[in-house]
């Protein structure tokens, strides 16, 4: 198939024009989040448990950055089933991780 044909198609599909602002912003934010986490750990800014929680939150924010700035997450042509399925995946992921860790702590609450 000749590429001329696609030359025409381009005209239709020029979605992003000009400087790729959203991508650059995404990169900057993700770098900021990374260095923030690194700094917090290096500086021992908080007690251990809290620190772990905070850097995990930062990591979750990184997911948001990737999904929205790079992965065209909200783009959809037709029903947005991919959003639903990913949401479901997140729910199950949390269930599996949290459930397993809870089980494996072995009865922290056991009274003897």
């Amino acid at each position: 198939m000749s590429s001329e044909h696609h030359e025409e198609l381009r005209g239709f599909h020029g979605i992003h024009r000009g400087f790729p602002w959203s991508h650059v912003v995404g990169l900057v934010v993700s770098l900021v989040l990374t260095f923030a986490a690194l700094w917090l750990v290096q500086a021992h800014a908080m007690p251990h448990g809290l620190l772990l929680a905070v850097i995990l939150v930062l990591a979750v924010l990184q997911i948001v950055v990737q999904l929205f700035f790079f992965m065209h997450f909200l783009e959809s042509y037709g029903p947005r089933y991919h959003v639903t399925s990913l949401a479901l995946a997140f729910v199950f992921t949390v269930c599996i991780i949290a459930g397993s860790l809870w089980i494996m702590t072995f009865g922290g609450e056991q009274t003897y």
Binding site: P79, Y81, A89, G99, G107, E109
Partner: protein
């Protein structure tokens, strides 16, 4: 079966254990292969086999191949069951030795769940889903073929273990540290790990495939809430497959890394933690049992509505309950190891979440009952199995709820009470469901209706045999008999009940023989289905000729109501002219056949076989083959073709549909 020691000594470690049964099967397998090769060559059928079946990407043919494989595996697993029941018929039996018995229950469980129930449900997915939603194929036909062949070669690998290298013997759950190398050396366990891994990849692909198919490829007008209930159950099962199989992948992979590369995930030493395997296994294992039962629920919903000549009762709550079951089953996995002592808080949480599955399931049972209520019930074979299912599943489900009561489970765990529970739901739910589906869609697949009289006999013998076999096992559980023991002493009061149970098992065996006879008889003296709608059906597959042409629908139908075909028939009965809206035929876009899914799976098989015996050069060779196949596919551009209008018209005319 006691053998002189020299037989054992003669047997090489490769062609295993000097057991006459194994030698007999070695010989049998070789003879069968020779016979197949001979027949294919004599009748010049090699080309036909390759063109029509091995390279096919047609969902209907793939479904039929799944069906044949599932029935064969039901036989293989059933023979295992007969052997076990024979050994357990009387105390201190010396029919099988410990090692042999251990291998048999392991392969029985593994085969029945992964290589019988799974392909059986996939058979039903493939046969019915595209036809029911008015599609010409699944979303990814090529991937669908890969799924089948991966399953096929996974099953082949596991079955090979019986004659080469030794079968796995750690139970279908295969808990480490028992299954770690030091306590279970040899290739047997590797067979288990790789066979499940290979077929598991295929299952995952099937899950993705059908979810996308159903969500994206429905005929115009078929909103989600107009979908046949079977399709909803496939959505539920697919969601479960997609989100639970990765846990199995990980559990198997880690155990394999332990065994082959000396890592310490689940070993007793160097900090390994075997409980994590148990945990991961059931993160998959529990959803797995719903994966196999949800499609059965779907089939019952279709069958009960059709044969009661009534609309399915409570459609919305049926949908809601499927989704509720699917979601809740991710929150219950610990109920398989209440006795691991994870603490009362954990046990209580998982006990309650487990019981609550009974709520949506109960709703389904009541909805089926009320679908029949004030209907006109025709006791055809599919309906017979559906009706047989209800009491069976109600009892099996109730004992499930009893097991969910954690302190009660401390007493039932690993006892025959548990064995009875899960056979009641697996057989009463899954096997009954799949048989109902098989009888229901058989005309659609082959254009013939299976003989009713023999089928009735088979049903009654099986149903009675079932209760005779498994009800005594509940009692045996209360009497302290645990699973996976190959002998038991006399004087425990277990003898009579075990004997009864064995008799029941033989009855089921006879019923299976009857089913085989029924199929053969019906092939010999076929009752043809010329209408395409032998049951006065309700959903779109019955609007097609039996069997359906390879493009399914000459024109994609437009759907305006829930039971689309029923609505159209009603409209006809009212005398409305449905014909006039017919659009002109258009060329149909179809995927090309391809031999690559088969070759790709052969490469997987070779790689897996290499890993089983730790012949790493072979494993790498297989791996490279897989990569090459993927690369070739990626570079391929010529993957589809169009069926010209002329050909469609000819085919339709031949089917009397113009």
């Amino acid at each position: 079966m006691h053998l002189p020691g020299y037989v054992n000594n003669v047997a090489t470690p490769f062609f295993v254990t000097g057991d006459p049964m194994i030698y007999a099967s070695d010989v049998l397998i070789v003879l069968t292969l020779v016979a197949i090769v001979f027949v294919l060559t004599y009748f010049k059928k090699w080309g036909w086999l390759w063109r029509e079946w091995i390279t096919t990407v047609d969902h209907k043919k793939i479904g039929i191949m799944y069906l044949i494989a599932a029935l064969l595996m039901l036989f293989r697993g059933g023979v295992d069951a007969m052997l076990m029941r024979t050994q357990l018929a009387l105390p201190n039996m010396r029919f099988l030795e410990a090692e042999h018995y251990d291998q048999i229950f392991t392969t029985h469980g593994t085969i029945m769940i992964l290589f019988m129930a799974m392909p059986f449900i996939f058979a039903m997915f493939n046969i019915a889903v595209p036809l029911q939603i008015g599609a010409r194929d699944v979303a990814f036909p090529y991937l669908n073929a890969i799924s089948f062949w991966l399953f096929f070669f996974g099953a082949l690998l596991l079955n090979l273990s019986f004659v080469i290298g030794g079968s796995p013997d750690g139970g279908w759950t295969s808990y480490p540290p028992l299954t770690e190398w030091p306590t279970d050396p040899g290739p047997g366990e590797n067979f288990y790990l790789l066979a499940l891994q290979i077929s598991g990849i295929g299952s995952m692909a099937t899950g993705i495939n059908f979810l996308v198919t159903i969500l994206k490829m429905r005929a115009p007008g078929m909103t989600l809430m107009r979908m046949p209930m079977f399709c909803w159950s496939v959505v539920g099962a697919s969601i479960l497959i997609i989100f639970s199989f990765p846990a199995l992948t990980v559990a198997l992979a880690l155990l394999m890394i332990d065994r082959l590369f000396g890592a310490h995930f689940f070993t007793m030493l160097q900090g390994g933690n075997p409980m994590m395997y148990v945990n991961l296994f059931w993160v998959w294992g529990h959803p797995e049992v719903y994966i196999v039962v949800l499609p059965a629920f779907g089939i019952f919903s279709e069958v009960v509505a059709t044969f009661s000549r009534k609309r399915l009762f409570g459609y919305a709550s049926m949908v809601a309950s499927i989704m509720a079951i699917a979601v809740i089953s991710y929150l219950v996995w610990l109920h398989h190891f209440f006795t691991m002592g994870a603490g009362p808080g954990v046990n209580s949480f998982f006990a309650i979440s487990t019981m609550s599955v009974g709520i949506p399931t109960g709703v389904k049972v009541f909805n089926w009952l009320f679908t029949m209520y004030q209907g006109r019930i025709r006791l055809k074979l599919p309906m017979l199995w559906a009706i047989g299912f209800i009491p069976n599943f109600a009892i099996g489900g109730a004992t499930g709820v009893m097991l969910a009561v954690a302190p009660g489970d401390y007493q039932y765990h690993n006892s025959y009470f548990l064995i009875a529970h899960f056979h009641q739901v697996l057989i009463g739910g899954v096997v009954y469901g799949m048989l109902a589906g098989m009888y229901y869609w058989w005309p659609k697949m082959f254009g013939i209706i299976l003989n009713e009289r023999i089928g009735r006999w088979a049903f009654w013998v099986f149903n009675i045999g079932f209760y005779v076999c498994f009800l005594p096992q509940y009692e045996l559980g209360f009497m302290g008999m645990t699973r996976r023991i190959y002998v038991y002493p006399a004087g425990m009061g277990w003898t009579a009940l075990n004997l009864i149970s064995t008799i029941g098992a033989y009855l089921m065996g006879i019923a299976f023989v009857l089913i085989v006879w029924q199929v053969l008889y019906s092939i010999r003296f076929p009752e043809r289905d010329v209408t395409g709608d032998p049951w006065d059906g309700r959903t779109l597959e019955w609007s097609l000729p039996s069997p359906a042409p390879h493009y399914n629908f000459a024109r994609i139908p437009t759907v305006t109501a829930r039971d689309a075909w029923w609505a159209e028939k009603e409209a006809r009965r009212r005398g409305e002219d449905v014909q006039k809206e017919l659009r002109p035929l258009e060329p149909i876009h179809m995927p090309n056949n391809s031999g690559r899914p088969f070759i790709l799976s052969v490469c997987f098989f070779i790689g897996g076989f290499g890993l089983v015996f730790e012949w790493y050069w072979l494993a790498i060779l297989g791996g490279l083959g897989v990569m090459l196949c993927l690369l070739l596919r990626s570079l391929e551009t010529n993957t589809d073709h169009y069926i010209p209008v002329e050909e469609i018209r000819r085919t339709e005319a031949a089917l009397g549909r113009l």
